[in-house]
Point group: C2
Chain length 339, copies 2
Amino acid sequence: MAELKKKAAYNVAIAGATGAVGETFLQILEERNFPIAELKLLASKRSVGKELTFKGKTYKVEELTHDCFEGVDIALFSAGGGRSLEYAPSAVKAGAVVIDNSSAYRMDKDVPLVVPEVNPEDAFKHKGIIANPNCTTIIMLVALKPLYDYSKVKSVVVSSYQSTSGAGAQAMEELMNQTKAWAKGEDITVEKFAHQILFNVIPHVDSFTDNGYTKEEMKMFNETRKMLHDDEILVSATCVRVPTLSAHSESVTIETVDPISPEKARELFAKAPGLQLLDDPSNNKYPMPLFVAGGDDCFVGRIRTDISRPNSLAFWVVGDQLRKGAATNAVQIAELLIK
Amino acid sequence: MAELKKKAAYNVAIAGATGAVGETFLQILEERNFPIAELKLLASKRSVGKELTFKGKTYKVEELTHDCFEGVDIALFSAGGGRSLEYAPSAVKAGAVVIDNSSAYRMDKDVPLVVPEVNPEDAFKHKGIIANPNCTTIIMLVALKPLYDYSKVKSVVVSSYQSTSGAGAQAMEELMNQTKAWAKGEDITVEKFAHQILFNVIPHVDSFTDNGYTKEEMKMFNETRKMLHDDEILVSATCVRVPTLSAHSESVTIETVDPISPEKARELFAKAPGLQLLDDPSNNKYPMPLFVAGGDDCFVGRIRTDISRPNSLAFWVVGDQLRKGAATNAVQIAELLIK
């Protein structure tokens, strides 16, 4: 078992520092006052020299190379799966613990996949790399875990409402540019998504697999099983892109072994870490992406007995996918390691 | 059994002619060349005198009163449930057959609830009033029926992505106004929805009932049972408003008595009336509201075996809720009666 040596402060590197998640890493590390000795911002060649601010100090972006991890204790990766596969082993060789936000290592048997509210103990079983789960899966599991601890969950049906920033900063800009173009009566440009996203919904997130599900949808199946250490739970997901800027929403129904009443579910949700209960629909109070974006907690509401089958519960969960769905979760994993 | 006397052309009245559905009634009647002798456009007092065009001719809106239906053969109502309850009996008394788009009579035992592709035979059992189902239910049932005819469906889990025009023309304008305001950096005004709809999704369509479902969600449960004449089928719906202009999308999974493979489902969908198969995801082809809006057919795609339980199928269906979800369906009912 590899272990991070305890120190007063750590040398931290961020690989992919100029991306949407990379910039959120900086915010989260600053907000949570993570004990940083030296900070290294890494990106591909074309971003080298770009300046980013952390705690009022300006940092120049350096090139992500095999030799750039010397002296680094913790390397947070969010530079795409290809770069993780290429450079994470170099970081480990240099003595760093890698927390990787890409999908590259998630299903690797030697790599723990961790949501601190769900399976914190797994983080300590790493061999140098810990994987950060898919954003949509993290948000669902923060709500699923307290129910799962009360009764085993047999199956999940989930439909998502995923925001454009989940596809990166440029994808979010595409929605904003389409919005401005439409308001001016100009032609709408489509580049980042397969189709216009303004005034549209696209049932297509990530690429398609042979069974008709997308990779994103299968991540929800496979990553849920891995984190719950349960190879019987079944998850059917439909992942859909919607014209929102930040935060993913999910309509979830679960079938449990023992019944869970809405009252019991509210009680379990209310005391669950990382989760806020917002379930007062008659006063128009339920989670929505516009209001959840920017925070670290996930919000759950619309809790009711699912009337389509026995022992079934329906709820609606929303979380900021750049924060809890990515950067916050990774930093929380780092916090576990240094505690 | 009341019957409409066969004629070469019919006197048709539209109650609620100035609303979003009312104006769509006019378009559909013109497009389908419905045999109209005289056309009467009815609305509340404040719209009296407003002019609307039908087949190039201008018609003045008259006041909806108890005495305005004399000589009318077919009255298409879309003026809200309260006005249907008040004026539909007067229309029936005057000898008209009422096709009512509101929810007022849908669950009335003496009133057939009809989607022509689903239960056309019920239309002929009317006692003067025929109800047009809820838009979200119609769209789902056009896709569900061919599967149901192949194998009984035990349960349905559906999450909707409903467009703003489903809440009326002014609600759609609210989205457009919020879009323009955002683009100009101006304050955003919220009136028609409980919250800002631009860059947001709102898990709240219609008002909430005691079991935690909304009325809209329970319509999908109750109306599905009534039209399929099946008091065992269970439907759990989560209805969500999204920032699109027209056409509702639905993520559906069903559990069937006999298994239905995706190949068999595609075969059944392909020959179903009112439905178009668009299921070529590897070429980015699947139904989307931006492209389905404006047509009468519903579109189905993303067809796959639901991996969360046995004998289960997942699919995605999109339809224009003002057309097939309201006006087209009502006019098709009228066409059944005069055939």
